[in-house]
Amino acid sequence: MPEPNGPPTATADPAPEYLVRVEHLKKHFPIMRGIVWQRQVGAVKAVDDISFGIRAGETLGVVGESGCGKSTTGRAILQLQPPSSGRVFLDEVELTGLNESALRRVRPRMQMIFQDSYDSLNPRHSVGRIIMEPMVVQGIMEEADRRSRMAELLDLVGLNLNHAVRYPHEFSGGQRQRINIARALALNPDFIVCDEPISALDVSIQAQVVNLFEDLQRKLGLTYLFIAHDLSMVQHISDRVAVMYLGKVMELADRDDLFDDPLHPYTQSLISAVPVPDPKLERNRRRITLQGEVPSPARPPRGCVFHTRCPLAQEICSEQAPEYREVLPEHFVACHFADRKGGSKISV
């Protein structure tokens, strides 16, 4: 057993190989006051001390409500928003603390796909130019080779060469997301952070894009961090799932363990709140309805951040933050009452 609060380290028994390791990652945004002499009056704790690992070739889903810090986590891992503290490793390379030029050399291995497919494409560049840009930036290949690689990428994501001369605004949302995927694949990355890539798409298009993600993973051996708020999509695409709330990981487990036997009260209520597309099931369902809404991450509650809405909250919850520990094998929970006997189960 590794130290309970610690990161999954390579010293733990026949250790699972992690491609990406996140250790005690924090991202705090300072709140400034004053016009001329600015001073810090507080901090938004977007991500507050989280640790986990992602195995090569797997999809780690991250779910949570708005303001839980899931997008910031993705950006902090990729160093697009430098973390306030903590360490991030990609294989043996520590990304935190790399200087700009060293970071630029590692960037091809890790890419990101954004939620807003329009905003993430330069409106003044043609699709061909957008897809070739990564190769130009990294200075790899000759012009002619870049072009054939671009054609190959377009084909890979289900577009064709005719699309290369067009501009982003001429495409539908689903097609634009394909362009984003092609650009992310241009440098043959190992690891891709997908930040709500399908949330803005229509239902019939979502399935197309999710299938594309899965096909590409199979074909190219990609590792995904898949951020979403749609639980059923995350359940579909993930191997393991992390549930976040107010900057902290509440629960992390294999997807089946998490959805069949959620240990954290928040996970239980989240799963219970998701409407199921089956009228008969819906009618007979008993819901755990949480009261209130997510508190502001600028003033998170003391103790367990979830205690203000938790149906099981006791005195200890408002005083002491629970340990994030491995309650069952490979099943991590941050709740005082979580144990093997179901002490943290909410009865409906």
């Binding site: 890419q111 990564p134 930036v137």
Partner: protein
């Protein structure tokens, strides 16, 4: 790639978007102009002024400096004592007003164009620095900018002009430098907006250098808003140049400029009103045309707006 068949199956290669290419774009711009008739009118008005400035020697019936005291103070052709030989009449020294207006457009456009060129390029540079670096540099620059913008503009300009004296270059420099703050403010605002956009983040994530991000991603997206503002500012400069000319602080009185003509005409306003009226109309004509054009450009140069209209 041979094994991509199953991936392609997931999406249909529908080609519903319009064809692209230079020709179709030109047609599209043509249609945009045709729909927005005021933009078309603005463009035509602006082109008339440009053409008369460029081809002044060909278009002007007389030498604008040639005096003919026998034909002095002749009213426009359509009034009773008018003569077709001087369509808009003559001034107090018998110089042909039409010819002077045509030549006067050269001064106005030169001042407007080069003034904006200076203001825009320096403003762009300073605005980029302020917006991209941020922090203390930004605070200092924007403090200065707001200080200058808080001054009453015309008084400020007249004051400097009075110190520096007359001359075309001096006028251009005065307008060029005093107008920098406007462009700094616009550029900085746009840079802040673009810097937060997804495609800049995407550029960072593929390892682009700062330089590359500025030149490939930020600058091209600045062109649209800057051209629009430049149009408005150029028309404002033409107004202010005429204002300075009217006060005798612009180009030397011998040079035919709209401002100088107004100054001359002022003395005869009650008796020979046409001497001041026609240069005044020329100023209004140019300003109106450029403002209409600017309004239209603002819509057309923004690909997002264009997208919404589609």
């Amino acid at each position: 790639m041979a094994d991509t068949a199953d991936i392609k199956e997931t999406g249909l290669l529908v080609d519903q978007a319009a064809e692209t290419g230079f020709r179709s774009r030109l047609i599209y711009v043509g249609r945009l102009l045709w729909r927005d008739k005021t933009g078309l009118v603005g463009l035509i008005m602006f082109l008339i002024v440009v053409i008369s400035a460029v081809f002044a020697p060909v278009l002007a019936p007389y030498d604008p400096l040639r005096q003919d005291l026998r034909a002095a103070k002749q009213p426009p052709a359509w009034s009773e004592e008018g003569d077709i030989s001087h369509p808009l009449g003559t001034d107090n020294l018998g110089r042909d007003i039409l010819s002077r207006i045509i030549y006067g457009s050269r001064v106005s456009l030169t001042v407007g164009f080069f003034g904006v060129l200076i203001a825009c390029s320096l403003g762009l540079l300073i605005g980029l620095i302020a917006g991209y670096l941020g922090g203390r540099v930004d605070n200092v620059i924007m403090g200065l900018v707001n200080l200058i913008l808080a001054l009453p503009y015309l008084v400020f300009v007249v004051f400097i002009a009075a110190i520096l004296g007359q001359g075309l270059i001096i006028v251009i420099l005065i307008f060029g430098f005093t107008d920098i703050p406007i462009f700094v403010r616009i550029t900085r605002g746009e840079v802040l907006r673009i810097r937060e956009s997804g495609f800049v983040e995407a550029a960072l994530s593929i390892g682009s250098t700062r330089k590359r991000i500025i030149f490939n991603h930020i600058l091209p997206n600045l062109i649209g808003p800057l051209i629009t503002i430049a149009t408005f500012e150029m028309s404002a400069m033409i107004f202010y140049e005429a204002g300075l000319g009217f006060l005798g602080l612009s180009v030397p009185p011998s040079v035919p400029s709209w401002g100088n003509m107004l100054a001359t005409g002022r003395k005869y306003l009650t008796i020979y009103p046409w001497i001041a009226t026609f240069p005044g109309l020329a100023i209004v004509f140019t300003g109106l045309g450029m403002n209409l054009l600017g309004d239209w450009l603002r819509d057309v140069l923004d690909p997002r707006l264009r997208r919404m209209k589609k």
